[in-house]
């Protein structure tokens, strides 16, 4: 082999913001990613962020403060929070039994937890309505004791619990699986009874993932449409959810108004997400201490 006399010049990085790698295809894959992301996510979101301001600041405030809109936002966020909170104990119960006990049908039950994900929302919507309508199997039972389920906030609440449940269970399961058994055993040797162990050892360890599961369920519930819209009854100011209001405003060609509600939903969701992240961080840090 003949020697090439030219020494290799120090190679200057062509792109100072990326660490050199021998693997090929960075430019191509990043290009595809950015182009697709830009067209599918960024451009539409820019439209959502800009359109409402056609109304002017006053117009936006006015649109959101209108009694019907304010009521819908209150209903959506309030019921979503309540449903997510109920999902917490239900989720802990299911995650606990599915990870800690062996019983016939456990794997099937485990798989079925995902059903609310897998079932298209419109299907869940009409099925829940059929069950909780005054003529339905559970709706008629409730009607006998004077409780109105479908076509009332309670109906919306049930639908939101249904779609939120898997989020909490699936957030908790891996933590319960990995929870150091020795910690529990240590607590036992120190004289803690079952209840004390559950409350003082297990629950604090579950804290961060419980918060994250509940917040995921909440975020999903706020935007939920298909499984709620059939059971809600959609009475303006009473059982009208925020996503439905967007649809109605669009049907009236009130694009700016629809965008204002949409933007408000995104903003409130994002704000609560930030707050929840903070809480989660706090819990995780306390868990480590």
């Amino acid at each position: 082999m003949t020697a090439h006399a030219i020494p290799a010049a120090p190679v200057k990085a062509r792109r100072p913001w990326v660490v050199h790698s021998v693997l090929p295809g960075f430019g191509l894959s990043l290009g595809i990613t950015l182009a697709y992301l830009g067209a599918i996510v960024v451009l539409p979101l820019v439209a959502l962020a800009i359109r409402p301001w056609e109304l002017g600041l006053n117009g936006v405030v006015h649109a959101l403060a209108a009694p019907r809109v304010a009521a819908a936002l209150r209903l959506s966020f309030g019921l979503s929070a309540l449903a997510a909170l109920l999902n917490a104990p239900l989720g802990v119960l299911l995650a606990w039994t599915l990870t800690r006990y062996e019983f016939p049908g456990r794997r099937i039950l485990d798989a079925l937890v995902d059903l609310p994900f897998a079932l298209p929302t419109a299907v869940a919507g009409i099925a829940l309505t059929a069950i909780y309508a005054p003529t339905g199997p559970l709706g008629s039972l409730a009607a006998k004791v004077g409780i109105k389920t479908a076509y009332s906030p309670l109906g919306i609440f049930i639908a939101l619990v249904f779609i939120g449940l898997p989020f909490v269970v699936r957030s908790l399961q891996p933590v319960l699986q990995d929870l150091d058994k020795e910690v529990e055993e240590a607590a036992t040797t120190l004289g803690a009874n079952a209840l004390q162990r559950a409350v003082r050892v297990i629950l604090p360890a579950l804290g961060p993932s419980l918060v994250s599961g509940v917040s995921l369920a909440f975020a999903r519930a706020v935007g939920e449409y298909g499984s709620v819209v059939f059971i809600a009854g959609n009475l303006p100011g009473k059982t009208e959810i925020a996503p439905l209001l967007i649809v109605i405003k669009l049907e009236q060609y009130d694009y700016a108004g629809a965008a204002a509600v949409g933007l408000a939903m995104v903003a409130i969701s994002f704000g609560s997400l930030v707050a929840i992240n903070g809480l989660q961080l706090f819990l995780a840090r306390r868990g480590k201490a």
Partner: protein, 366 residues
């Protein structure tokens, strides 16, 4: 190198000394962000040499190996192999056989498919036929003593077996140079020792220049023809195992290559004074304040009226004919080793005696 065979190399030390330079590394620097991983490293290896890159973690040894493989690009410097500019060659054209620290076996391929991979990705004209490939794989499986495991998947192998598959896969492409990154790092002590001897034999038979990275000084001294010791991205010392062990370039190397005891001393007028012990200073020793190093098993125990450092025995752990003796010297506790006849008679806690380092190494005080 003839096709399809692993020639037997002459391992005669004299011949190796005469063999031509094969790998020349000069002035290699590389930093990751602000962290300098390699700082102006230059070294060379002769054809068919077995070179160890030894250093603690963060010393830059793995980065240097990856530069040789083409997996990292240095900021400055030059690498030549057999006179050829190596840095301008892309990874795939370098024909280096790299054995990764965690082997990087293709988990979805069988052992045989793993070994054959390098042959099957050659351009169509150079690609061996199916039967040639199969023969070659069979040869290599035999070489690494895994004849019956060709159909297994990596997940079904033990750590030592995976290591050998990785080596066979690297050898399959008839590499110009073999690069091994902590080849025994993930194995337990027993397997390590067995594989070590086997690897050296394999190197001698394959006759390929080999560079291997390790943080285990015993491994490096045991296996390599020469050892390059790195620290903080710099080459500290390069030499045969005996050279680096006998003449460590600095206190770091001395400390890194084995257990070390250190005491401060002074050299004036050709005399070395350490505490109450005075002796003739070696001719090449520095003047003034110095640090004196010695190995805990290279000491002679003498009665209190003899020559050496005054010490008091604090504890003794007897192991058959040998003993570990904890001694207080100059207010510091040292764990010394004595073998068989070297164990002072009647040694017990409380005994005062003198300790004479047999081969102290003297460095200017830090």
């Amino acid at each position: 190198m003839p096709e399809n065979s692993l020639p037997t190399a002459d391992t005669d030390a004299q011949k190796r000394g005469k063999s031509p330079l094969s790998l020349e590394i000069s002035g290699i620097s590389k930093s990751f962000g602000r962290f300098p991983a390699l700082n102006d490293v230059s070294l060379h290896a002769r054809d068919k040499e077995f070179l160890a890159l030894l250093g603690p973690s963060g010393s830059g040894k793995t980065t240097l190996l990856r530069v040789l493989a083409g997996l990292e690009r240095p900021d400055a410097g030059e690498v030549r192999f057999a006179g050829e500019d190596f840095l301008s060659l892309p990874v795939r054209s370098r024909k280096v056989g790299m054995v990764f620290q965690h082997y990087a076996l293709f988990r979805h391929m069988t052992v045989a498919q793993n070994i054959a991979f390098g042959l099957t990705v050659r351009p169509r004209r150079e690609r061996p036929s199916k039967s040639e490939t199969a023969d070659r794989v069979a040869d290599l499986l035999k070489l690494v003593q895994l004849e019956d495991l060709g159909a297994r998947f990596p997940a079904q192998l033990s750590g030592g077996q995976r290591q050998r598959v990785a080596l066979a896969r690297a050898l399959a492409i008839e590499p110009k140079m073999l690069l091994l990154d902590e080849p025994f790092g993930a194995l337990d002590a027993q397997v390590r020792r067995e594989l070590r001897r086997w690897l050296r034999e394999l190197h001698d038979r394959a006759g390929v220049t080999t560079v291997f990275v390790t943080h285990d000084q015993e491994e490096a001294l045991d296996l390599a023809d020469r050892v390059a010791i790195l620290k903080d991205g710099r080459l500290i010392q390069l030499g045969t195992p005996n050279e680096v062990y006998e003449k460590p370039a600095d206190p770091f190397v001395y400390d890194f290559l084995g257990a070390a005891c250190r005491l401060p001393g002074v050299i004036e007028g050709g005399r070395l004074t350490v505490a109450d012990w005075e002796s003739k200073a070696p001719a090449d020793a520095p003047q003034g304040r110095v640090d004196v190093f010695f190995r805990p098993d290279e000491v002679m125990f003498a009665p209190l009226d003899g020559a050496g450092l005054a010490g008091e025995v604090k504890a003794v752990v007897q192991r058959g004919p040998d003993a570990r003796i904890e001694c207080l010297i100059e207010g510091r506790l040292f764990e010394l080793e004595a073998r068989g006849p070297g164990v002072p008679s009647g040694v017990a806690p409380g005994l005062s005696l003198r300790i004479k380092p047999l081969r102290p190494k003297i460095y200017a005080a830090a």
